[in-house]
Symmetry: C2
Amino acid sequence: MPSLSRYLPILDWGRRYDRSAFTGDAVAAVIVTIMLIPQSLAYALLAGLPPEAGIYASIAPILLYAIFGTSRTLAVGPVAVVSLMTAAAVGEVAASGTAGYVAAALTLAFLSGAMLLALGLLRLGFLANFLSHPVIAGFITASGILIAASQLSHILGIEGEGHTLIEIGAGLVAQLDEINPITVALGVSATAFLFWVRGGLKPLLRRMGLGPRMADIGAKTGPVLAILATTLAVWAFDLGARGVAIVGEVPQSLPPLTLPSFSPELLSQLFVPALLISIIGFVESISVAQTLAAKKRQRIDPDQELIGLGAANMSAAFSGGFPVTGGFSRSVVNYDAGAETPAAGAFTALGLALAALFLTPLIHYLPKATLAATIIVAVLSLVDFSILKRAWRFSRADFAAVSATILLTLLFGVETGVTAGVVTSILVHLYKTSRPHMAVVGRVPGTEHFRNVLRHEVETQPHVLSLRVDESLYFPNARYLEDRLSAYAAEKPELTDVVLMFPAVNEIDLSALESLEAINTRLKDAGIRLHLSEVKGPVMDRLKRSHLLEELTGEVFLSQHEAACRLGSPANLEGTA
Amino acid sequence: MPSLSRYLPILDWGRRYDRSAFTGDAVAAVIVTIMLIPQSLAYALLAGLPPEAGIYASIAPILLYAIFGTSRTLAVGPVAVVSLMTAAAVGEVAASGTAGYVAAALTLAFLSGAMLLALGLLRLGFLANFLSHPVIAGFITASGILIAASQLSHILGIEGEGHTLIEIGAGLVAQLDEINPITVALGVSATAFLFWVRGGLKPLLRRMGLGPRMADIGAKTGPVLAILATTLAVWAFDLGARGVAIVGEVPQSLPPLTLPSFSPELLSQLFVPALLISIIGFVESISVAQTLAAKKRQRIDPDQELIGLGAANMSAAFSGGFPVTGGFSRSVVNYDAGAETPAAGAFTALGLALAALFLTPLIHYLPKATLAATIIVAVLSLVDFSILKRAWRFSRADFAAVSATILLTLLFGVETGVTAGVVTSILVHLYKTSRPHMAVVGRVPGTEHFRNVLRHEVETQPHVLSLRVDESLYFPNARYLEDRLSAYAAEKPELTDVVLMFPAVNEIDLSALESLEAINTRLKDAGIRLHLSEVKGPVMDRLKRSHLLEELTGEVFLSQHEAACRLGSPANLEGTA
């Protein structure tokens, strides 16, 4: 049943599951579980939700993705950028800490899941192409800065607020006198320790005799050490009573069955944020999935990925979670730790379920500052301004899109930023294709080749204009061709023949067809004939479905050489007329 | 001073103005003036404004366009579609017949003029390319139907309302018992007469001995006869007292100096409608201008046209008018009547100013039903469903855009309709370019030519995949190439070399570059080398500004033939590695 296993990839890998795959998957699951516990709590904090929501958001979604997703090693759950976008979107409709906030986060996950499913079932994954690479890179860099800035308040022990750099900064400045020194001490040491873990722990473990892979994995579990140490410190010295914000009571429970709110008002308020979260999440996830799959020559099906992520988000909505997607670092750890199949995800879900049942009392004394430190260290690796340099060197158009995205995200928040990025790149794209490269060509003497008159020494005839169009013709540029030809006709009174050379025209749409018809008519009114040459097969097929070829005042030549020979002198012209 | 005359085309033609041009211009001006008086009154009625606004909107704008515009024969003033859009936009913010309504129309003209000027000065005319030909055709057809429907109430002598087909229809049905039979008699006979004028007057004039041009022009002045006859009938039988709606008191005055409202609330409410009106008006106008200019091999500069239309609309805002643009029928009449230069427009403005001063008392008794008849007969010629058939035959994508535009314009009004058309055509465009044509190619035996393996009998090698990309690579399709190559790598375990053939790749943006880099890395991880062949010069220049060529695991071949020879057998491969 190829069609069923297309929609249920589990039928494919599940049938061939064996002991060796089980061993790899189980080991990976243990390591990923240890890594995910602090990460899940931290991203829940970032999203403005109670800490257990982070663990819940990691359980059902992993299972659902394991059934429907096509990547063998992608690890799904809360990630930094999507959590930030969740906080921004839900913060618009409810106050953090209220039941309405939690319910709105469920609705956001539901909407986002429904959109991803719909995009997948309708095979509309191409919509993600709206987001160009530079826009995503700029958006993620700016988001990393926003996230790190938003976590500073937890490190300082004050109330944070705001979704733009200015709001966050103003909030910090306004409360500077309420800084809690003990929290600062904990937060700064945790941050310093975690930075050292990133750079220094792995070499240390290597020197202690661990193999490179194990040292790498050991270094990834570093955050757990910071959590243990700071939790113990708070418990031992009763720092909670001295103003250190702690996680507090966390229910000891499996993910609860929850129902998102379907109020039409809430759905319409969250529609656009959910769409942006879906697309950003999908783009992030598929790029990780493809990178990992390539290493083992496995196949990722983008439309099926939409279905897998859609199912994962739907399940988050019904199990006390919030929007999720495939995470980069956790997927890499999963892959490096030897995960072979999505069963590794299922085992991770089991591990997290056990943690939710038995470990939650232990995190009562966990200081929020430690979670903030975990987030800051994780997201600063997302910040990478080199995209600005790359874009500047490669093309000014891309530079415009990436700098608009970074600036607007920092100044006006994630939704404005990513929307501006999308709009800018579409505008830039339309602008570029609206002025396609065209070259007046002439014959290279003694050959059958035709080249740009501006770049080569070529022969031309005053009464013939041969114009090579180096772009497909469609509505963004149809009018430009009209304008250019009107200009040529007005400038050259001796002109009797125009040849449009189409070797690089891959497509013609109805707008361009109508432009060609208008050009034909206008040139005819001006006493000039219009010819075509080197038209590609599919384009010719399309033109035959119109009246253009019947009405064309000139001819269609197989080659530009043939056109030049036939139109060689006015005398010949009479013959062909 | 070429730079100054670029922005002031009047300096160019004004310097060479002579008696022959004067004669042509003056004759044309008389004819156009006679035609414009009823048209201006009618379009003011359609826009929901007092009749004199139509005449005012024809005076200053014509003068300003004469100074700044590049077309020699374009006649600027109120036109049907823009008047309908004005009624829809202003109707949202004020009630018809109030001072606020008139003021909002001025603001709309001001905003629209400012936008056109800005687009022209910033050389952003390409934004009009958002509107594809089929979308415009569909929009104009649907607008024609809406306009005709909206005028039915005047023919029936009842109060009309609504901006969608359903609202208009419901309004008519609700007031059926208030129909005024005398108005119906007048309206129906005027409509019938005007339809006859369109088809029958010209042959009659020809039979009466007029030349074809004069007969044509005579037929165009037909509406004046209808106006004279029905006005006389109302006056003679005092039909105004018997319930026939008449134009009534019209001030005898030159265009007044008016100031549009600049309330921020009004400006923000009218922003989107003004943008749509600007773009629709510009697209309509430039297409008429180019068609007429081509007949005399004159040049139209699109960016300067934006400035000309912008100045015209600004002047309408300060002289009691409403949004204007270049009209099709009046421009054709102007051209056919022998206009040589924009001075014809200036003389027309003079004629209309005289009419505003001296003729307005005569139109006191003009029935509104006659104006409605003028509008109905004029706009029904805009209705042309053949675009649906053309689009269906030519491409389903264009058909989707045109049918969405027609349906949504009729059901939800002009703004929703045109926006939906723009969005649909951009989506369709992105969808099409997101899945570019690519062909796996092989060598035609015994030649150096490479063709699609699906269409030709060609030779391939199992360890080499040669893929010809028939489209520029940019963000809408960058990911598709990644997906396709991931799929090939997963399907063909024997693959060692991939050659991307780029003869039709006209452009590569940063997204596509990063996709190529990702493809290179992923193929490398899978033990496959990536090569390029037949890269165009400008694309190669661009790639040299990146690290791709340094990191490429394979080579860049000048021709596919060279690539095939070098990669011919695995043994050769080792040699080049």
